[in-house]
């Protein structure tokens, strides 16, 4: 009797599921052209563009908020809320003209007051460091008339414009986390923490409007659920997949291949023995076979790099990936010169939630055996990594990827100045400090580019770290959609995605 009941229940349940799914797919067909479901691996940390810190949050907020200027897919800064930018000749003033008729999502028009409020909010130092660190350089934000904003700096900085991507928000809204209001191509509808965020198209967008009306952003924390979700059709789009995940997807998906825009390296603590010795660091570089790392961890995908910069930086980037060709004999010789003829033992600390970095570390361990160096991997949690390795600098070496917050070379290179607060590898080199200072101070573009290249060259020559690659990134999108565009930054531009014409 009991068994019969169970069976009946199962039948009811199955028919119910069939009914539900039938209903679901029918629903989808009708509206497929105007909605898309996107998967992201982690929840948003805030909807306030000025206080959000996680890269995963900023890539979504990119669609809701805009600054006076915004980056395009080439990495250039193009006018957004401002229609025109005139940099002063001395590199100390920037004059912006407000674009006419730009409206916030709540219907109000953007005024110079809103702009001044937004910039002042981010430059405010009453609570310690300003929300945008570079804004500590702002002397004043003035609005001579109702169309013009003049930003004056304390120190000349010809690259300051990159920070003007800071979101412009209405002065009238107190709590942006509760009521996010921006000027972007999509506007916020609702957010269920740990579940989903819903956006809809901004009909009054000043520029080229988005193609898709409704966007559901679903939070899928489990890496294995991502593949299941994509294959099952509950997610249409997912960025930052690994080659292994991609290989398990069905034919319904178009795979876009790009790079993650970060510097993956074996970062060496330059203040810990034996890495105080440049020759030891160089020996590790010679012992590292980057093509083999790529073959073993990502089917050969990824761009080898040789310094702390990745190719997306265009003219500033100089390719140094060939500086240390794999040469076991040379590595052994350097070790012997440094006083380690029989090798040594060291620890590689790796955050346990980043499988690609763990994989890379495992390959390195094998490669270093060839020069008699024993490396031991220690997995720690991401929080411990941030506090012990990154903040307290209490580590010997670590495999991690460092990304850039904007496309100025300083975003990657400033940390290697001897006194920099985020110089977690304790790199200290007087030549480097001089080269970097020159790069920042000069206003001549050619000289600046040259100085930044010199910085990269010094990092490579002194083998500051064992540079590996800019990792491959795979984006899977259902073939019902097209138009995905890669950016050289950590953003997803949803407005460019459009449904395929049937």
């Amino acid at each position: 009797m009991k068994r019969l009941k169970k069976f009946a229940f199962a039948v009811v349940l199955t028919t119910l599921t069939i009914a539900l799914s039938a209903c679901g797919s029918g629903d989808k067909k009708g509206t497929a052209s105007s909605s898309i479901t996107i998967g992201i691996p982690q929840d948003l940390d805030s909807l306030d563009p000025h206080t959000a810190v996680a890269a995963g949050t900023k890539e979504i907020l990119f669609n809701i908020y805009e600054g006076l200027v915004k980056p395009d897919s080439e990495g250039n800064l193009v006018p957004a809320v401002a229609s025109e930018v005139v940099p002063g000749a001395d590199g100390k003033t920037y004059t912006f003209t407000l674009r006419e008729g730009v409206k916030f999502h709540d219907g109000s028009t953007v005024t110079v007051e809103d702009v001044k409020y937004s910039l002042d909010r981010c430059a405010d130092t009453t609570a310690g460091d300003p929300l945008v660190p570079a804004f500590s350089n702002i002397e004043s934000v003035e609005t001579p008339d109702d169309k013009t904003i003049v930003v004056t700096l304390v120190q000349p900085d010809t690259e300051f414009l990159a920070n003007m991507t800071t979101a412009i928000v209405p002065k009238s809204v107190e709590d942006l986390n509760e009521h996010p209001v921006g000027t972007g191509p999509y506007k916020y509808v609702s957010w269920v923490p740990q579940e989903e965020v819903i956006l809809e198209k901004n009909e009054n967008y000043w520029g080229e409007p988005a193609y898709i009306d409704d966007v559901t952003i679903r939070i899928v924390a489990d890496a294995d659920a991502i593949v299941t979700g994509l294959n099952g059709g509950s997610i249409d789009f997912f960025a930052r997949l690994s080659s292994d995940q991609v290989s398990q997807l069905s034919d319904d998906y178009q795979i876009y291949e790009g790079t993650m825009n970060l510097v993956q390296a074996l970062y060496l603590n330059n203040k810990v023995e034996p890495f105080t010795d440049e020759r030891v660091r160089q020996a590790l570089c010679y012992a590292t076979d980057v093509p083999e790392v790529l073959d073993l961890t990502s089917d050969g995908k990824g761009s080898p790099i040789g310094s702390s910069m990745f190719p997306a930086f265009g003219k500033y980037y100089t390719d140094l990936s060939g500086a240390y060709p794999t040469d076991i004999e040379k590595a052994k010789q350097l070790l012997a010169e440094a006083g380690y003829p029989d090798g040594f033992t060291f620890t590689i600390t790796v955050p346990s939630n980043y499988q690609p970095h763990i994989d890379t570390a495992q390959v390195l361990v094998e490669q270093y055996k060839k020069i008699g160096v024993t490396a031991n991997i220690e997995l720690i949690e991401w929080d411990s990594w941030l506090s012990d390795v990154y903040s307290a600098r209490n580590f010997t070496s670590t495999v991690i990827g460092v990304d850039a917050s904007n496309l100025t070379p300083g975003a990657l290179l400033s940390r290697f100045q001897s006194e920099a607060g985020n110089n977690f590898i304790n790199y200290s080199n007087a030549d480097y400090d001089a080269a970097y200072a020159e790069a920042v101070a000069t206003t001549d573009d050619a000289a600046k580019t040259e100085a930044y290249k010199k910085c990269q060259q010094i990092l490579s020559d002194t083998a500051a770290n064992v540079y590996i690659q800019d990792m491959a990134e795979f984006v899977a999108m259902n073939k019902k959609y097209t138009g995905y565009v890669f950016y050289p930054l950590y953003v997803q531009d949803l407005a460019k995605i459009k449904p395929v014409e049937q």
């Binding site: 073993l296 346990s352 763990i358 991997i377």
Partner: protein, 266 residues
């Protein structure tokens, strides 16, 4: 024929455990290949004569890794059970034999530790002393003490009022002598079967911790860590999951049957 024949459970269990011990020793002496050696050409290689269990995502020989993994799992389990048993016998013996306030204090502490699931307890210890093979032995060992202590205590309480104990006492034997020379051998059968079951639990706990990435550190292999790594390739190459999974299942089955057989024999 007074002596009863060994049960079928015991025989199957003993064979499985014997096979496992052979694998452990084999792994210690020499594996067919270096279990950590990578080879681009052999990524996801199918099982063949050269590589009976195939190769994993780094082109490492799975059979060699399983030999190493079984060895690591075995060391951790033996170490865990050894700590649990020795400390458990000491504490349980003292409590059971003397009783009184000492018993109260130790057993209440015991209860506190017992209140946490053993994996959770091990996680707390790991967060204090860091991850690694030997740290896991210590962490799991501590987590395993309470159940042994409790068992030994009740056994000692039962035994200490028996005639042979009283006789020994009258003969002038010291308390320690009575506890460990007289009572312990008599409590041995009970302890033995729980040691075997404890060993099983230790295998599962070690696999769990390695699966979470805090046990044996990569690139060294352990059965749990191999399962965890293979999960990513569940669709692509299910064999990577199946081999370590089956070996672990047989290992646990073997010890479970052996424990069954031992208790039936009494």
């Amino acid at each position: 024929m007074k002596k009863k024949r060994k049960s079928l459970n015991f025989i199957i269990g003993a064979v499985l455990v014997g096979l496992m011990l052979i694998m452990v020793v084999w792994g210690w002496i020499k594996t067919p290949y270096d279990p950590n050696a990578m080879n681009t050409a052999l990524k996801f290689a199918r099982p063949s004569l050269a590589h009976p269990f195939g190769c994993d995502n780094f082109g490492r020989d799975v059979f060699s890794r399983i030999l190493q993994g079984v060895g690591n799992t075995f060391i951790v389990s033996v170490g865990t059970v050894a700590i649990g048993t020795i400390v458990g016998i000491l504490l349980g013996g003292l409590c059971g034999y003397y009783g009184g306030w000492l018993d109260e204090i130790i057993m209440r502490c015991n209860d506190v530790i017992f209140a946490f699931p053993s994996i959770f307890m091990a996680l707390i210890v790991i967060s204090l002393i860091g991850p690694g093979k030997y740290q896991v032995i210590l962490a799991l060992g501590i987590a395993f003490v309470p159940s042994f202590a409790r068992l030994v205590r009740s056994e000692f309480m039962k035994q200490k009022n028996r005639d042979y104990c009283l006789a020994a006492e009258l003969m002038g034997a010291s308390s320690l002598r009575i506890m460990f020379v007289h009572i312990l051998p008599n409590a041995f059968p009970v302890i033995l079967s729980s040691v075997i079951i404890g060993f099983n639990n230790a295998v599962i706990a070690e696999a769990g911790l390695s699966y979470l990435g805090i046990g044996v550190q990569p690139p060294e292999a352990s059965l749990g860590a191999m399962l965890s790594d293979a999960q990513t390739f569940l669709y692509k190459d299910p064999l990577l999951c199946i081999f370590p999974g089956v070996v672990m299942a047989l290992m646990i089955l073997g010890f479970a049957l052996l424990a069954d057989g031992v208790s039936e024999d009494k």
